[in-house]
């Protein structure tokens, strides 16, 4: 009788051996790069990694003790369970030691959590999870206390060496904010405000990801992260706070006209124009971002045209309609205009 389960055979020996040989290499390869908790670039990620290594070391010691005792018992043959020392072994080894170990873990974990969330930062960045992108806003540059926060969606830029307080929210469903190299993760929950601290220790480019399944395009909800020198960060933020650049030539001027005429402004804002939509990411400085669509395409004119023509082909499920009914040349003009918005 073929029950359809015959395809679930175990891998044959050579395959299994090869897999076993490759597994450590694959695991090690996961320990470096822009999205690794082990390749830390932030005070908070270091604290989490340190606790993990202590746990691993303690777990190895406990494991060796238990297995060693087991082997010893198996070797030495049957003996009277009421014999001398048996009661002490059960009480101390079986009850007191695990209780103390779990208590130590609990206290260490709680203290770590308190230190990661309980302080106030030197600057504040708001991040709101959306299906399937990141609505981010930086507190306005210093000296301008009542100015509105600066929208900088889909890319997180931070100054090195400063503690940032991330204010995490969600608009629709539960998302989770995680930049493994820097710190986290912490859930973004509708109706709640969660706070997380990040203190980057070196400049560079990193990658964050939504870490809570949030719908169809969850796996494509990435977050490029750039840690910069404080002066470069200040320049960047001042640039982001300014309204959009005026088109420099006839092509981009025509692109802006088409952008406004096509109705993109219903969902997108470009500060300084009539486009004031709030449903999708602010595009005032979209050309200055590293990627399009929350880490899905590199920034470029061809990629931008591809996104506008059919964003759903790049990111299935995306909440932006396809515009492939527009003539290809019009799409290119809009794309050129957007890429020019640095």
């Amino acid at each position: 009788m073929d029950d359809g389960l015959s395809s679930f055979r175990l891998p044959r020996a050579p395959v299994a051996a090869a897999a076993a040989a490759l597994a450590p290499a694959a695991l090690l390869a996961g320990c470096s790069g822009p999205q690794s908790w082990a390749d830390t670039a932030g005070v908070e990620a270091e604290a989490v990694a340190r606790l993990l290594w202590i746990m691993v070391a303690a777990a190895v010691v406990i494991w060796l003790l238990v297995i060693g005792t087991m082997l010893f018992a198996a070797r030495s043959g049957p003996s009277d369970p009421r014999g001398r020392g048996a009661r002490g072994l059960v009480i101390w080894g079986g009850m007191v030691a695990p209780t103390v170990a779990v208590l130590a873990l609990l206290v260490a974990g709680l203290i770590l959590m308190r230190d990661l969330t309980g302080r106030t930062g030197e600057l504040t960045v708001e991040a709101t999870g959306e299906q399937w992108w990141w609505r981010i806003a930086h507190a306005a540059p210093a000296g301008d206390a009542d100015a509105a926060p600066v929208p900088t969606p889909n890319e997180l830029r931070l100054p090195v060496g400063r503690t940032v307080e991330m204010v995490l929210r969600a608009d629709d469903v539960i998302h989770s904010f995680w930049v493994p190299s820097l710190g986290g993760k912490l859930d973004m929950i509708p109706g709640r405000v969660n706070r997380l601290h990040l203190t980057p220790t070196r400049t560079g480019r990193f990658r964050g990801a939504c870490a809570e399944f949030c719908g169809e395009a969850h796996a494509q909800m990435a977050l490029p992260v750039v840690v910069m020198q404080p002066e470069a960060y200040a320049d960047w933020l001042a640039g982001q706070a300014a309204p959009a650049a005026e088109p420099a030539d006839a092509r981009t001027r025509r692109g802006r006209e088409l952008f406004l005429a096509t109705g993109c402004g219903a969902c997108h804002a470009i500060r300084g124009t009539a486009a004031e939509g709030k449903l999708g990411p602010d595009l005032t400085h979209v050309g200055s971002r590293l990627t399009i669509g929350a880490g899905q395409l590199p920034m470029g004119r061809a990629e931008m045209a591809r996104w506008i023509a059919d964003a759903g082909a790049v990111k299935p499920g995306v909440r932006m309609p396809a515009f492939d009914m527009l003539p290809a040349e019009e799409i290119r003009l809009i794309a050129d205009y957007l890429v020019s918005l640095e």
Partner: protein
């Protein structure tokens, strides 16, 4: 058949009572902190009153568990034994088994209640 009441001889209730105290302690502590931080805390988010409340709850829960443990020893002849098998088919042995189980669950619940209270020791504000 009539259900046995809480402390009637042979009642099963004492066995689960300690776990019930642990559950109640957990829920009340959790609610106290959640409601305080959502509705009552001032700008500083101080947890002073919640920590005090949890301290009182913890003492009450431990006292109740201690009383239950005493009950298990006195009325059921429960003992903290590991070596003896309680297998005899008699009413007295059954009672001893219930006392034994109650006593162990009291120990577990006391530890669990203390664990519930640890966050209140570590955290001093709602943040």
């Amino acid at each position: 058949m009539k259900q046995k009441t809480l402390f009637e001889e042979g009642s099963l209730w004492p066995v689960i009572a300690a776990l019930g105290i642990w559950a109640a302690h957990f829920l009340l502590s959790y609610w106290a902190a959640a409601l305080w931080c959502a509705k009552a805390a001032d700008g500083s988010g101080s947890l002073f009153w919640v920590r005090l409340a949890i301290a009182v709850l913890t003492l009450l829960a431990l006292a109740a568990i201690a009383w239950l443990a005493r009950h298990a020893v006195r009325r059921y002849g429960g003992r903290l034994t590991f070596e003896d098998d309680l297998t005899e088919d008699s009413a007295a042995e059954r009672a001893r088994f219930l006392g034994h189980a109650t006593l162990l669950l009291c120990a577990l619940s006391a530890v669990a209640v203390l664990f519930d209270a640890v966050p209140a020791v570590v955290f001093s504000t709602c943040r």
